[in-house]
């Protein structure tokens, strides 16, 4: 009986260790980068997703003179690798949504506890606002 319990515990521990593939990181103690952070509002319709994926920060920049670039830093809150799909929508000053041939859904795979940024550049200088949609695979 004891042997059975021991074997089961060991197997469970090994299984758990096999699944847990979280990422360790190292970075500068005092970052020198000065991102231009964006105050954001979040709409959560999938509570399970929000438990698994955290939005760390949102920052913006301007590239190529007048194109808005948005970067959203995501964190996989689980210790297991997870895949998510995301899509940036772009909105003009008058509130109209802008479309383009390269504004579709994309996939991102995050290792356990990994923090990584997704970014996109507006399809037109007319873009004033953005909306990031994220869904679980």
């Amino acid at each position: 009986m004891r042997l059975l319990v021991l074997t089961t515990t060991l197997a469970a521990a090994l299984l758990g260790a096999g699944c847990a593939t979280s990422v360790n990181t190292v970075s500068r103690a005092e970052p020198t980068a000065t991102p231009n952070y964006v105050a954001d509002q979040r709409v959560i319709t999938d509570a399970s997703l929000s438990r698994k994926l955290g939005i760390v920060s949102v920052n913006q920049a301007t590239v190529s003179g007048n194109l808005l670039q948005i970067q959203v830093t995501l964190e996989n809150r689980s210790t297991r690798p997870q895949a998510f799909t995301y899509k940036f929508d772009w909105i003009a000053q008058d509130g109209m949504e802008l479309s383009g041939p390269t504004t579709g859904w994309r996939q991102i795979q995050l290792q356990g506890r990994e923090v990584r940024a997704v970014s996109a550049i507006a399809p037109s200088p007319a873009a004033a606002d953005f909306r990031l949609k994220v869904r679980e695979n």
């Binding site: 590239v63 190529s64 194109l67 383009g100 041939p101 390269t102 579709g104 859904w105 399809p123």
Partner: protein, 199 residues
């Protein structure tokens, strides 16, 4: 008894309707995550994804602002296909052209092409006809940049699991000195045993 029969019939009918709607042909968003994923082919989402990443890289590099005239005039040169599948490279280049055009940074000439193959022969003919009729020299705007590239494929198999990597290489060259001022490589890797619907 009648109620039970009616309920069972209704449930079966609903189930059948549900199954039929899943298997029957339907429209899906070509930019959405319900598209088919094949391991050995470049799917529509792969072209879009590669084009998006390459356009973002090009715009972020800042080289387009260095052109003396804005928007910069670009011609599409040869995109070599070294994959095992027969593809129309416009699936990549047209997306890139459209995206760059909408940014207002680049305008593409359609009357110049590699080996004299022009995209719009009528525009070239009308241009020369206009020049002939007016007695003036034909004004062809020469491109400041050319876009060239190559598509590559790498396949590997372990047991029943197949992995394919598609590599998209692009270079932007200034025509006056022949220097590649921007280059990038994007890779898409797919792994699995068989194709799937959705990703």
């Amino acid at each position: 008894m009648k109620l039970a029969l009616a309920t069972t019939t209704a449930a079966t009918a609903l189930l059948l309707v549900g199954c039929a709607s899943k298997n029957d042909a339907r429209y899906i968003d070509p930019q959405g995550p319900q598209t088919v994923v094949s391991i050995d082919r470049i799917n529509i989402q792969d072209w879009n994804n590669a084009a998006e990443r390459l356009v973002a890289s090009l715009l972020a590099s800042g080289v387009l602002e260095r052109a003396p005239e804005q928007p910069a005039v670009m011609a599409v040169s040869r995109i070599r296909n070294n994959t095992q599948q027969q593809v129309d490279t416009d699936l990549l280049t047209k997306n890139i052209r459209v995206a760059l055009n909408r940014t207002g940074k680049v305008i593409t000439t359609t009357t110049l092409g590699p080996d004299g193959r022009v995209e719009d022969p009528l525009a070239a003919e009308v241009g020369s006809m206009q020049a002939f009729m007016s007695g003036e020299r034909q004004r062809t705007v020469l491109p400041f940049y050319t876009l060239s590239g190559k598509l590559l494929e790498d396949r590997v198999r372990v047991g029943n699991t197949q992995q394919t990597t598609f590599t998209f290489q692009l270079s932007l060259t200034t025509t006056r000195d022949g220097l590649a001022v921007w280059e990038d490589v994007q890779q898409i890797t797919k792994q699995g045993r068989r194709s799937s619907v959705g990703w």
